[in-house]
Structures are given as C-alpha cells and as structure tokens.
C-alpha cells in the first residue's frame, strides 16, 4: 500500500508544472515594417509627337494618383525614395517637370529634369522623403494627383539618327510602411 501512495504522489508531482517568467509586453516592441516597391508612372513619346506640337510645351497632363493618400499608407508610411529615370534618344534638349498636387490642386513638390539631346546618358535621380535629410513626408501623404509637363527646348524639325527616337520617363517608389 505504501508503494501505491508513493507512486500516487510521484504522479501528482509529475503533473506539476512550471512556466518560466515570460514577458508578453515585448509584443508591443515588435516592429513589422516592410519596404515595398513598385513603379509609379511611365510616359513614352516618340520624337514625331514633339515635332508636331505647337509651341514648346508638347505634353502636359494631370493624373489622378490615390496610391499615396490611401488612408492606410498615409497613416503608416515612415520614409522612402522615389526614383526617376529619363532616357532621351531624340535630337532635342527636353525639360520634364514632375509635380505632386494635393486635393485642391496645389503644388506640394516639384521635380524638374533637363536632359540633353541624344546621344546622352540615362538621367537617374533619387529623391528621399521622410528621413533626416529627405523632404517632408507630408508631400507624399497629401498627394492625390501628379502633373507631368514636358517642354521642347530645341527645334521642331530635326530627327535623331538613332532608331525609333523617343523620350522615356520612368519612375518608381520604395517606401517603408509600418504594419505594426
């Protein structure tokens, strides 16, 4: 009988368990901050369009662009970079102005590009927002439209001797967003 009691208590002790000190408040310190990256705007125009235009401004348009002021993104974006690329294979010097507009149409930020006639290197530029040296993140948060205007600083008759001459404007955005 004594053996049985001993065994019984051994079982009870065996089932007794412990949990080492856990600190679930650590969850509050967990950061989930992915960096997301996507293209923004692509504009392509053959040289003939530039030559056919009346006046220097051969293209101007305002695009609705709600990606930045979507509530979740606007509330949680931390910082980021917008990358621009211009490739000019036309025979003209061109000026491209890229503007961020808010809901009322007010200009929040402007980026201007001057690019030489072909042959010329691809113009690349990165503009930072939100970090210590970057521009205000409010520009991004409040942007609801983008205006692109393109001007011809050269003549209206010449044609590049490169195949299929055109201007290509490329842009992409890379931002850190806090999910938690």
């Amino acid at each position: 009988m004594k053996k049985i009691y001993t065994l019984f208590f051994a079982i009870i002790i065996g089932f007794y368990s412990c949990v080492e000190d856990q600190n679930f408040d650590q969850f509050d310190d967990l950061d989930i901050i992915p960096t997301i990256e996507a293209s923004l705007l692509y504009v392509e125009s053959p040289e003939q369009i530039i030559n056919d235009a009346v006046g220097a401004v051969w293209y101007i348009n305002t695009f609705n662009f709600d990606a930045f002021n979507e509530a979740f993104f606007a509330d949680n974006v931390i910082d980021g970079v917008i990358t621009y690329e211009l490739e000019n294979t036309t025979s003209k010097e061109l000026e491209i102005i890229f503007e961020f507009l808010d809901d009322s149409g007010a200009v929040l930020d402007t980026e201007m590009f001057l690019i030489d006639p072909a042959p010329t290197a691809v113009l690349m530029r990165e503009i930072a927002y939100g970090n210590a040296t970057g521009r205000s993140l409010d520009i991004i948060r409040n942007t609801s439209a983008i205006r692109v205007s393109a001007s011809n600083l050269g003549d209206n008759t010449s044609v590049s001797n490169l195949p299929n001459p055109m201007i290509n404007f490329r842009s992409s955005a890379k931002f850190r967003v806090r999910l938690k």
Binding site: I4, I11, I36
Partner: protein, 480 residues
Amino acid sequence: MIKSKLSLCIALFGITTLCSQNKELLYDFTEIPQALLLNPGMESSFSWYAGMPLLSGIYGQAGTSGITVNDLFANDGLDINDKVRTRALNGMTQRDEFGETIQIDLFNGGFRSIKKPQDFYSFGVYFEANTILYWPKDLAYLAFDGNADQLGRRFDLGHLKTKGEGLTVFHFGINRQIDPKLTVGVRAKIYSGIFDFNSSRNDGYFTTTAGQNNILANTMVADLALRTSGLEEIRSILSDEASGSVANVITKRALFGGDLGLGVDLGFTYQLNAQTILTGSLLDVGFVYHSGDILNYTLQGRATIEGVEVILPDAFSDPNADLWQELVDEVEAFIPFEENSDSYITFRPTQMYGSLRYNWGVPDTGIQDCDCDINGQLKTSRFQYRNGVGGQIHIINRPRGPQAALTAFYLRRLGSIFSLKTTYTVDKFSFSNVGLGVNIQAGPVNFYATANNLLSYSNLADSNYASFQIGLNILSWGNN
C-alpha cells in the same frame, strides 16, 4: 467592440482546435472505456459503463513545431525583433505548424449484450474542435521585409494553409470478440458540423521584376480560396446585423441543424500468442457536407502592373482618362476578389493507429492467463498481466500530407486499483516526449488522467507540445 467579440469568438474556436491529435497514452489502455474511441476493436471485458456527463472524457492538446512561446517571450533581455527574425522568420519553414485540439465527451456509455455476450455496444456524443495553421513562410517574409530589392524572388502564396472545424459527433460502436484471439470493432458516426473554415489548396506567387517599360513590374498569380461554414450567421449576430443569440446558433448547428456528415471507425485486436498482441484502427473515415451558412472567398487570376502608363500618341485619344482608376479596375478585373455560397465537402482528418504489445508478469490478483473468451469463467484474465511493453504508430492525414508519430510504451498494473502507462513519442513536435497515464479503479468508479511531454513541464512555455486527458466513469466487469 463587435470586432473584438468576433475576434474573441474566433480565437476561442481557434484555441479549441488541432494538432497531431495523437492520443498515445489512451490508445489500447484497455482498462479505460474511452480507449474504445481509439480502437473500436479493443479487447474489453466491461459489462457496462457509464461516463459521467461532460466529465467522462476531456481532452486538450496544443502544439507548435519550430518555435515555442518561450523562444519569443522569455524575459531574457533580448530584442524581440531579433528573436522573431532569427527564430521565426529564419528558423521556421512552411511545414511548421501551430495547432490545437479539444474533445469533450457530452455523454458516453456502453453495455454488453446479454444474449450475445461477445458483443459490446458503446455509444455517445462528443464535441470536437481542431485548427491548424501552417507557418506562411513567404507571406511572413513579405510582411516583415516587403518586396524591395528582391528582384525575381517569388513569394509563394501556396504557403497559406489553414483549416479548422468544430462539430459534434454522434457515434455507436459494436465490439465483437470473434474468438479468443481476435476482437474486431466498428463504429458508425454522424457528424453535425458547427463551424468550418479551410484555406488549404492555395497556389500562386507574387514577384517583382525589372519592368518591360517602367523600372519595375509587380506580378501576382493567385489561386486562393477560403471556404467557411457556420461563421457568417455568428458574425451577423455579433455585429447586430441579425437577431438571435450565438449560443442558440451553436446549439442548433450542434444538434443536426448545421452541416451533416458520415464516418466510420474500424479496429481490431489480435493475439499473436499468449503474451503478444497486435492492434490496429482506422478512425474518422468520413466526410462532412457543408451546405448551410456558407460564405466562400476566392482570389483567382493573374496581373502584372508597371504603374500608370502613358503611351503617346495613343493617350491623346482620351486626355481626361483617370489612368489610376483604370489601373485599379484592371487589376481587380484580372484578379477578382469574389464571394460565393457554394456547398462543399471536407474530409475528416483520418487517423490510423497500430501497436504491438508484449505482456508478462504474474497478475497481482493471482489470476492466470487463460485460453478463454468473454464467456469464460475468468472474464478479466485477458488483460491481467502485470506488465506490457511495446510500440505504437499513429498517422493522421493533414493538409500538407500525413503526419506520423512513433511511440514506445510500458504498461504496469498495480493490484486491481492502479494502472500506469508511460510513453516515449517521437514526432515532428518533439523528440523528448515522455508521457504518463494513470487509471484508478475505486470500486465501480473509474478515473483516469493522462498527460504527455512531461519533461517540458519544468517550463511549459518552452514546450512544443502538450496534451492531457481526464475522465470519470462508472463501470462494471463481469457480473457486477
């Protein structure tokens, strides 16, 4: 508030749900009537038994593979972000899982046929709920790291796999001793599904590559689906969109008012020789047909975007076009997020047990083994060896394929009051799973308790796996 209630509800359902469901301690523990639920062909010598309602079988199990609570939340002074990075993101694979199971006997009983004493009938109703969530590795990387600076990397959407269900099971089993060496059994089951959700056949990927026109191209190829049953009505009540009470909905669905299904358990015990016994069982070969309160979600299609694109001179044709909205509409058209209420079938997580046991030792009661059947004079003698040792196998079908567990066990009987079973189990959760089960027979009162992975009890938070089962029955052998 409603959201938090719903979250709590789902969390509770979740907590009450899955894992490997291996009940290695209870299997072939022939003194415990509930072992018949694991092998309807178990050797039994009960005359009758009656489980205490709601107390005859309470089973809970939780498991994680690849990580423990302690790995992340130990008060060790380390930065949790570093711990998540090294132990979860970099330490886990899409085969690692989180899961829980709960099973509660609502009532359970059994009796031996008077006219045909080699037949033993058992019946009852139990509630079972289980969930499983596989670690969505690529989606976790996408959430923590994003897609930047990872050109060409494919984030596999197929890593999203989860499944959960809650149901009541009405069962009736027949256990027949064919001859002194062979006992077989079968159990019919009717399932009454309370809730179900599953998203386990997902496919597709998300990738970022160099764009054809623009700098980058984001491509998504998706074939995702989440099927739910029995949750929408609860959600509507909790969000005050419908009248009624959640309790009523659950009760109604638990009593044949929800999804219905059929299943069967099969089992046998065969005495290879006087001291060696082979057993096997196949459980939950069945299905549930989900036809009520269905709400399914799908996301299927393929789209590649390179931002807003203005191609001149084509764009001059509609200078006022909302190109951003067109882009959004285009993506939604290519990869539509849709809902439907199509009925569906789920198959139960079929399980298989097998064991080989060698018995020895003189019984404490002094009763010797006999070559007799259930009609024999010494009805209890067939399991009165003092010791039993052997091995068991358990296999269960899971969304990522079968999971197996191997168990070595030792069974010890101490007089007519105590029986003990200890196990050592190896599975994907643990290589150090030692379990202990005890059965106490005090007159007609039978109490049992089992728990496994005892070595981890020094710090449960650091355990990958834990389960327990307790139960209380009134039972009788022989002519009691």
